[in-house]
């Protein structure tokens, strides 16, 4: 972001931070939804039973592990794309 004044850089920086926070919150609410949907099916009680609590823990753990692995592949691919001609030139 060359050619920005200090004030503009500050503004840009703070927008990026808000975006990251929003992204994180979206991830959080999706994770809650997904693990709830996958693990909770018993509505004869109003508190989580042990089986459900365990399932939610494994669900979160697995999501994080999968997310990390996918993130690695994604970054490799982004790096590779930088060194390639754009799609149209093939």
């Amino acid at each position: 972001m060359d050619g920005l004044t200090n004030a503009e850089q500050r503004e840009f920086q703070s927008r990026m931070e808000r975006k990251q926070m929003k992204e994180f919150m979206g991830m959080f609410s999706n994770l809650v939804s997904h693990c709830f949907d996958s693990c909770i099916d018993d509505f004869t009680t109003k508190s989580l039973v042990q089986r459900e609590t365990g399932c939610v823990s494994r669900c979160v753990q697995k999501f994080m592990a999968g997310s990390e692995r996918i993130g690695q592949r994604f970054q490799e691919q982004q790096a590779q794309m930088m060194n390639q001609p754009p799609p149209g030139s093939r």
Partner: protein
């Protein structure tokens, strides 16, 4: 928060407004997710009647209670994970984004 925070010891009005907006967005999002989840679990899509019957109502109440529990549980797990990783940046697998 701000990387270039020199001479700005307290949040500006714009920052306060943005923070309030973000909190409202999260609450709204969570309400929508809760609603989607519990309507799916408790209310069959046949729509033979327009009311929520007794069984559906009880199911919704318990579903909401369990949804909050899951929310709390996930929040605890993410905090534990962040603490374990040294509370540095990221660690969510969102490498650099």
């Amino acid at each position: 928060m701000s990387m270039f925070g020199l001479g700005r010891p307290q949040p500006s009005s714009a920052e306060k407004i943005a923070a309030a907006e973000q909190e409202m967005d999260l609450i709204t999002d969570m309400f929508n997710k809760l609603q989607q989840a519990c309507m799916k679990k408790c209310v069959p899509r046949e729509y033979r009647e327009g009311e929520i019957n007794k069984g559906e109502g009880v199911c919704i109440d318990r579903c909401a209670a369990k949804f909050f529990d899951v929310q709390l549980k996930v929040s605890e797990l993410l905090q534990a994970e962040a603490a374990a990783k040294g509370a540095g940046g990221g660690g969510m697998g969102f490498g650099g984004m």
